[in-house]
Amino acid sequence: MSATQEKPQRPGERAVTATEQALVEQVRAALASQTPLKIQGGNTKAFMGRPIEGQLLDTREHRGLVSYDPTELVVTVRTGTPLVELLAALDEQGQTLPCEPPVFDGQATVGGMLGSGLAGPRRPWVGSIRDFVLGTKVITGQGRLLRFGGEVMKNVAGYDLSRLMAGSFGLLGVVTEVSMKVLPKPVASAHLDLQIPAEKALQKLAEWGQQPLPITGACYSDNSLKLRLEGGEGSVSSAADRMGGERLDASFWTQLNERQLPFFADERPLWRLSLPTNTPLVDLPGTSLLDWGGCQRWLKSDAPAEEIQKLATSLGGHASCQTPGVTATPLQPLPPLLARYHQQLKAQLDPKGIFNSGRTYPGL
């Protein structure tokens, strides 16, 4: 098909680029021949979910910023763009993506960030990847290139398909463009290291969480609580005075986010437990590190998958294995009814089942 735009262009609609058209055509060909696709950017998130077979659909040719107006606090970017490139452009304007997605050796792409929904240490205080999504352009299971959401802060017209794409691991379509909300970088920051026992750290975090403090990072590792404070000069310095402790090097947060801390080098499988705020300290079967103020607990463990997932459930959360090949269901299985609605949604949006099928759960 040669027509780049089959529908008349609407106001503000941009022309389809050649790289986007190439993606559309690959999807159409795959649909015609019922060939499953494996959608991939920098392939830095292979450790999440399940490995799949399929014809490679590489997004990385389709890159670059589409529009960026700092006063609007909105950026629209092609999904094959390396995250580092996007972050550098924002940085030039004193802005950032507060949800802090890891860049993984500079290889991570915007599409991978969106598909995995993987956010960094700031997540509990500023929001997730999906919280910053405003709009998407998506190649659907009919091979059509459609627009959902937009480049405005508020938009409730139709169902919110854009935010649905975040964390969907590409199962519902190929996202070619995403518009995101960005924010000014904080004026001031401080990084603290408090040598206190873990119980005490959680107790402190529960207390501080109820106060208007500028905390944007809280990690417990190696017998100390690492804190990041970000905000105005006044609030950061007064909070830092109050909390005490030693100074911590700011690079700690990057090492944590990029998984470069010695903790991650342990040979045992890596598990992620996502738990409710204020979950007490529990004995986990292995070595652990607490991030997100205790809501995200990393575990290096040889314990069986069922045991770890059961434990997470009993604590009101869920667990996923981030070391490939350890279990057939690295993502915690869904309750049957919820699983059925997942199937139904997938069947509606990807009736031929060509988009990353099996990436999250067998048969989905």
Binding site: L164, Q210, H318, L349
Partner: protein, 499 residues
Amino acid sequence: MNLLYDEQLDGELPAVDREALIDDLKQALPELEVLHKREDLQPYECDGLSAYRTLPMLVVLPETLEQVQTLMKICNQRKVPVVARGAGTGLSGGALPLEKGVLLVMARFNRILEVNPEGRFARVQPGVRNLAISEAAAPHKLYYAPDPSSQIACSIGGNVAENAGGVHCLKYGLTVHNVMKVEIITVEGERMTLGADSLDAPGFDLLALFMGSEGMLGIVVEVTVKLLPAPQVAKVLMASFDDVGKAGQAVGDIISAGIIPGGLEMMDNLAIRAAEDFIHAGYPVDAEAILLCELDGVEADVHAECDRVKAVLEKSGATEISLAKDDEERKRFWAGRKNAFPAVGRISPDYYCMDGTIPRRELPGVLQGIADLSKEYGLRVANVFHAGDGNMHPLILFDANQEGELERAEALGGKILELCVAVGGSITGEHGVGREKINQMCSQFNDDELETFHAVKAAFDPDRLLNPGKNIPTLHRCAEFGAMHIHNGELPFPELERF
């Protein structure tokens, strides 16, 4: 085009044996309050968009989850459409009943089930009023951030269904950013949890999909919301301008300076005068526009930011800047803004509230466009809006008793929405599509996009029993709407029936 459900345009609805349904309900749910007499049904014939009314076939007022489940099972078996209703403050006809449908009123689910200060969340039933959550959290110095102006009345279930916003959303987010988990009853009467007590849940983000879905994918029966620590201090600056364009420009200037205010609202002269007359907020009645800029947080930061914002406003040409001297005055400044709709209601027999969003940079141009349209259609328009996030609420003043004025108001409203779409915005920022903007959906989305929406609906409600006809127009309706547009060139169409 008539906005009431039209089976020819909106799809055929199943025929329902009303008496048999009443019998079924009486048998299965003897305790359930079912209203079926005309005079009992009348109070429910519309929501906040009162120009459109339909008498529901039945109204049910359940009090327990089991009742909702059984009701849904019966309706699903008998293929009876169900329209959910919270407090009925919606402005887009989202809770507009169907003649052939049951109106499911969730207002009696009004209990706050848990306020957990350490976990910083509250678990509430869907009929709980928005403000009641913050009131319950206040003893812990916590609050629920989204604050629609209707917060004393609207329900959290309705907020979820509309993804409601408020004056503090630029900084603190919309409903979607502040809800962690919802319990829903599916069209088949089964209970399902979306989201989690943890910060994420495995699988698709169905929680996000449900936000703003207007009661078309499931019935919300419980909501867990995030609570935030109340800011230490909040200060409000009021800046006056002799020109609306300048005020619009100032909004962008504040954000360019790297400041995200807690609230950033704008009102034009007509709105200022109406609000001042009603609330005596201390607004400058001769200003062409005012900006209310709230800065909140820790004392030291707020002081510094106030100074910076003042400097920006001066540079942007504000003719006067005043800082609310105490909390009393701050509340008064906000009361004027929050009561702007009813205030405008006092200066005109009727008003029609629009809800378009635009990229902020387009503000001056769109305001001019609205002024031009206002002249063209001969109807006054008061502008009140969430300037910080580009969400406009032009209020079109009219008198329904004057022949043709309602039609003109609607046509003018449609033009304003098209203007918003034309500059890259949306037809609705927070009030939802409902029935009101069902035709304008055809200008914002193409057929393929609408079909994708219908596919999502089909995944949750294949028989179209949940609030059919709202939010997503049929392709047939869009074809008719498009033909009308092209054929006549321009609205209004006095020859067409509208009510």
